[in-house]
């Protein structure tokens, strides 16, 4: 199987879907002539022309709303946000329009649109450009939130997202775009709403997604070597809908759980998942569900502080030991 970058996987998904359906088009800042701020859409303007690869002004509320309107009227827009941090100026368009129109119209409209872009902390971008929006969107009925961790998942899930008749918030990470992974030549799609057991284990369940998956697998290796703790690592892949069944099954087996989350501790994504599952797993738990999250501060600019505020392999290892009473 060829090994390709995460960004190439995203591009392959978009190109294949645009070839498959003329209603699919890409829109965003610098997606066309500049070939993508992070080169995800490189070459797509040349391939599809300006009708279907639309450079927008820096105008998130405008083009996100435009996308929703176009989706209501039969198109299937892919809206690239250079950073999910910029979605805040378009919040109303996602929360009120994309998510609510179907419900408020009594099911008369569907909104098949994908909003995609980099989420979370990258390298020293400062507090404004480092937001983790997972929980902000995953809490909204009407939206679907997907956060793949590998090129293979990114391609398969983006294709499904584009084909979905619901608005999808697709969370990538600038720091994952160079990651390489095997992606088959043959066409494939992956299901939204199904978690992936990245490593089976019996002692503790580690829940993670997106950028945190790699870190958790490293932590699991260290735990196996140093503590003989056999951790099960579950990549949630989709945050809404959440694959509760996979989570509950795993915890029923391991009786312990650690949620690793790049978000803040209070009302963050991890906090939301914790609330969702703690009641249902109560009798299976031998220890409180542990969490590793960011420190409760804005994201600092300084490189070392920025690293220190985030989850790390060491923090995951520590927390797992704690819930395993080691």
């Amino acid at each position: 199987m060829p090994e390709i970058q995460y960004r190439e996987a995203l591009r392959q998904a978009m190109v294949e879907e645009m070839e498959r359906d003329d209603n699919v088009f890409l829109m965003g800042e610098e997606v066309g002539e500049y070939n993508g701020a992070y080169k995800v859409s490189e070459g797509m303007l040349a391939k599809f022309g300006p009708r279907r690869v639309r450079d927008t002004p820096i105008s998130e509320a405008g083009f996100c709303g435009l996308g929703v309107g176009a989706a209501m009227c039969g198109l299937r827009p892919i809206v690239e946000l250079m950073s999910w941090s910029f979605s805040f100026v378009a919040f109303d368009q996602l929360i009120n329009n994309a998510a609510n129109v179907r419900y408020m119209s009594g099911g008369q409209f569907k909104v098949p649109i994908v909003f995609r872009g980099g989420n979370g902390i990258a390298h020293q971008l400062g507090a404004t450009h480092s937001h983790r929006v997972d929980a902000l969107y995953a809490r909204v009925p009407g939206l679907t939130v997907v956060a793949p961790s590998t090129p293979y998942d990114a391609k398969g899930l983006l294709k499904t997202a584009i084909r979905s008749d619901d608005p999808v918030v697709f969370l990538e990470s600038e720091l994952m775009l160079n990651d390489r992974g095997e992606v088959p030549d043959e066409e494939y799609t992956l299901p939204i709403g199904v978690a992936d057991v990245k490593k089976a284990g019996s002692d503790v369940t580690i829940l993670c997604w997106s950028k945190m998956v790699k870190m958790c697998l490293n932590a699991a290796n260290q735990l196996a070597e140093e503590d003989q703790i056999d951790a099960e690592v579950i990549d949630l892949r989709s945050l809404r809908p959440l694959d509760e069944q996979a989570i509950l099954q795993s915890i029923a087996k391991t009786n312990r759980c650690v949620i690793v989350d790049e978000d803040w501790p209070f009302c963050g994504m991890g906090a939301g998942i914790l609330a969702q599952i703690s009641e249902k797993t109560f009798d299976d738990l031998d220890a409180p569900i542990g969490r590793v999250c960011c420190e409760d501060v804005p994201v600092p600019f300084n490189h070392y502080l920025e690293l220190a505020m985030q989850p790390s392999v060491e923090k995951v290892v520590q927390k797992v030991r704690q819930v395993c009473y080691r």
């Binding site: 098949p112 294709k159 809908p241």
Partner: protein, 344 residues
């Protein structure tokens, strides 16, 4: 489309059609909307409040909605609106029954009782909604126009909002995108001179709202929104401009709402004199007067229409009131279009 073809240049449009049938239809629709809104007011204020929530009445602004409907091409055009959306929905062909039932929150409402007064939708005629957040719908209208452009359907999107929405960021972003991409949008400001309770002059640094389009390189006009003939003429020009692929236009249709912003509005910001003066420019009275002058209607015809719209609205209220509330299960429906886990 027949409706579109019968509208011609402003200089000729005041002339009668051969038998006045079209004009009487327009007058009838304006009167139906008025009757509907005034009855809504009554029902809303009755003890027991069968209509709940926010409710914004259109009385006094009917010429704009009916004017748009006169040139609207069903099947390819779209209309999007803010929350003062009853009039346009009726004008585009929504029956009074589902409209009234929606306000009653009943399962027979146009949105199954899940949208309410501010969220009327009718997909099959391209009515893409009443929208509750001031200015939030303007980019959606541009998106609808984008779909017309993308598929080259020749359709346009009538994008409506009030003078209050102009000061929102979305207004500026939407106008810029529409003009930059030459999209077939007609932006229509229904300027009733009052953003909730704030007069235009207290909210917009530029009191001439049509000037607000100057930075976006598109035709812009300030028009009499109470004269339906004027509205039709101006909209015809703007829509032809758009259909030719020449991009958006910006029309400020000056009008006056007779009722408060919403039901709880005591309208302390208005004087009695101002309101009485405005009544003299009631779009229905004006149009009726024109039609009488042109001998297209008489007392008997007006009375007949009055009786007819009263019966329609009475029936709608009765229908709404006797309709069931949505089933509890309905709460969980229409959240998503797909079943999950989803693989396609």
């Amino acid at each position: 489309m027949a409706v579109a073809n019968e509208v011609q240049k402003r200089s000729v449009s005041k002339k009668s059609s051969s038998d006045g049938r079209v004009e009487r239809k327009r007058l009838r629709m304006m009167m139906l909307i008025r009757r509907f809104e005034e009855r809504t007011y009554q029902e809303y204020t009755k003890p027991g409040q069968r209509i709940g929530g926010f409710c914004h009445l259109y009385s006094g602004q009917e010429a704009i909605a009916v004017g748009i409907a006169s040139i609207y091409q069903k099947g390819k055009d779209y209309l999007i609106n803010g929350y003062r959306d009853h009039g346009h929905s009726l004008a585009l062909g929504m029956e009074s029954r589902p409209a009234m039932a929606e306000m009653f929150g009943r399962s027979t409402g146009c949105s199954k009782g899940k949208g309410g007064s501010m969220h009327f939708f009718q997909a099959e005629v391209g009515n893409i909604g009443g929208h509750g957040i001031v200015g939030g719908q303007i980019p959606l209208g541009v998106g609808a126009a984008f779909s017309c452009w993308y598929k080259q359907t020749g359709g346009v999107c009538f994008t409506l909002f009030g003078d209050g929405a102009i000061n929102q960021g979305t207004f500026n972003e939407a106008l810029n995108l529409a003009s930059l991409w030459k999209l077939p949008v007609i932006f229509i400001v229904e300027n009733n001179h009052m953003a909730m309770g704030t007069q235009v002059a207290r909210a917009s640094a530029e009191p001439d709202l049509s000037q607000r389009a100057c930075g976006y390189n598109m035709p812009h006009r300030d028009i009499d929104g109470n004269d339906i003939d004027v509205v039709i003429d101006e909209l015809t020009e703007a829509s032809e401009h758009a259909r030719r692929g020449e991009g958006p236009s910006f029309l400020v249709a000056n009008t006056y709402r007779f009722r408060g912003h919403s039901m709880s509005d005591a309208m302390k910001y208005r004087t009695r004199e101002e309101a009485e003066k405005a009544r003299l420019r009631d779009p229905i009275t004006l149009y009726e007067h024109h039609l009488r002058e042109r001998e297209l209607i008489d007392d008997a015809a007006v009375e007949e229409i009055e009786n007819e719209v009263r019966a329609i609205v009475d029936d709608a209220v009765q229908f709404a009131d006797s309709s069931p509330h949505p089933e509890l299960q309905e709460m969980y429906k229409d959240v998503l279009a797909e079943q999950y886990p989803l693989q396609k």
